[in-house]
Symmetry: C2
Subunit: 333 residues, 2 copies
């Protein structure tokens, strides 16, 4: 049997039980955006790691090295944001083809440093080695949050409003621009920026985790259609999502019109937007929305609600049930 | 300029100053076996990470998958041992060629689990993704040690005895067996085992860190000739090492005789033995040695001493100064 037959999550399910017995005390292991390790009386520590492979996660000729450095850290900071945490430090492992230019690596580190400085996250260690062909980048970030307050995927409750912190589908649109070599009235650059320079929502995650009524939270790395199912499985709940409520930018709308893309499909199943997806008690939703907008000068978007039932998304459009096949990115298909 | 012109350490020196300003409080960042992050009133936490690339660090057809799983974790646990720490948990990122057999991955995880269970180290998270060609494995381990008690490379003092916890060169001999396809009276298998299944010296590191008089400590991953220089540079000291004192196994001696290898050279500059290299105040050496032997049933080996002077190793044989050119493994040469 080849790995592509069982996929990434099938593989994880095979070894997860083997290690369950080793987890100690209040540690939380495999299955959320971050692991949780109790550190002291007031804080839990959060740990996340992401491995980016050339020609799988990025095309070395399509992304500037400073953008790649930025993005390698951003996707990990986004996981810390998803738990409501604050970063403490990062670790960078990089396997480098021997013919790579030092100037290119310097630019990579400049981009990595720019985001490190923005969120006050020191680079504390790592590993540098050779690769025979593809550039490989692994980043690990350690963060912290108030003890017991990490927002987990398993915390959704029936009746919760499902909401997101910003526009979706922009990153997927940017990927289409790159793959199809599209250009249109300067709009394409904005989508490529969504794809290459995602903003980790650390401030938003910290704010939301401190609000009353916020239950489950995660970041959108594979697309709502795939990521929300993780919340549903972990919480043992179902969901109704209204495709008309999925937010996307005017730029994506115009580009979709021009090139025949389905903007709603990109917003639902396109990955790598790194906005936060969360659920909130219906009685707290109004206040959370109001305070968020006051603080950040931008809205939150309600896209559906959590219900009892099977762990799947019931998609609706104009109040009618529709079928929606996209279920996110399986790396081994 | 290509990376191979400046090497791994040259690259690190280029970006290290950029990040120095972000390091917070008592954190210790780039430059030791582990980073150190204060966690609570009694403990510091230790973090280390290693990236293993197929055809650079291992040959997929020469190492059994269960050995590769074991070794991927072992080299990181060895870094925790080097600081005198105890592991809290590990994180595994793995980029897998799509044609890999699931049975092979299951065996990899069995080997990883075997060592995890031996040292009570839960696998708490990671990342699983696709690779187009080479298998890539990144492991990150978090550990702990009593506050302020981590043994660092910078702690060597003039007059210290330099010692190691076990035989050297066995792993390098095992690599020669594999590369030269050597076999000799069953002895070759022992060296290959040294290479594929190194024992992280966690119990020894914990014991030594608790002894009076132990100053600097690190693990031997690149060979004494290279690794001791890291201690010398970090401590601003020099060293005299007697090549006749370098310990190696009878098996390595016999194999070296048979195949014309230089056993002393392998012991001095062969990497991946993962024994501990440490320095100890001369007045404490006898007691440390006695108590270590009582506890572990094996000796410690004094190989030289720390002196004032330039950060280099002065090699001696039979009391005569000799030149020794090998300086360890530069991944980009």
């Amino acid at each position: 049997m080849k790995l592509k037959e069982i996929g990434e999550f099938g593989f994880i399910e095979r070894f997860k039980p083997l290690f369950g017995g080793l987890v100690q005390g209040a540690q939380v292991g495999i299955g959320d955006d971050c692991a949780i390790i109790p550190a002291n009386d007031k804080e839990d520590w959060l740990v996340t790691t992401d491995l980016l492979m050339e020609d799988v996660h990025f095309l070395r000729n399509e992304i500037k090295p400073e953008e790649l450095g930025y993005k390698s850290l951003a996707v990990n900071l986004s996981d810390i944001a998803a738990m409501g945490g604050t970063p403490l430090g990062s670790f960078l492992s990089i396997a480098i083809p021997a013919d790579m230019e030092v100037a290119c690596l310097d630019a990579f580190m400049q981009g990595y440093h720019q985001l490190s400085a923005k969120y006050n996250t020191p680079l504390l260690g790592g590993d540098t080695t050779k690769s025979l062909k593809h550039l490989a980048i692994n980043v690990c970030v350690i963060g912290k949050c108030p003890k017991g307050k990490a927002r987990r995927r398993s915390m959704a409750k029936a009746g919760d409003v499902i909401a997101v912190t910003g526009n979706l589908g922009g990153s997927a649109g940017g990927l289409q621009v790159l793959l199809q070599k599209r250009s249109y009235a300067g709009l394409s650059a904005e989508l490529v920026q969504n794809h290459h320079l995602p903003e980790p929502r650390l401030n938003e995650g910290l704010f939301l985790a401190g609000c009353d009524g916020i239950h489950a939270m995660m970041d959108i790395s594979d697309g709502v259609a795939s990521d929300l199912v993780h919340i549903l499985k972990a919480s043992g709940k179902s969901a109704v999502v209204d495709t008309d409520k999925l937010p996307f930018s005017e730029t994506l709308r115009q580009m979709a019109d021009e090139f025949g893309w389905d903007a709603i499909e990109l917003a639902a199943s396109g990955g790598e937007d790194y906005e936060l997806l969360f659920t909130v008690a219906p009685e707290d939703w109004q206040l959370v929305q109001k305070e968020f907008t006051q603080k950040f000068g931008k809205p939150l978007y309600a896209i559906g609600k959590i219900t009892d039932g099977e762990a799947r998304i019931n998609w609706q459009r104009n109040g009618q049930t529709i079928s929606f096949r996209k279920s996110g990115f399986n790396h081994f298909q």
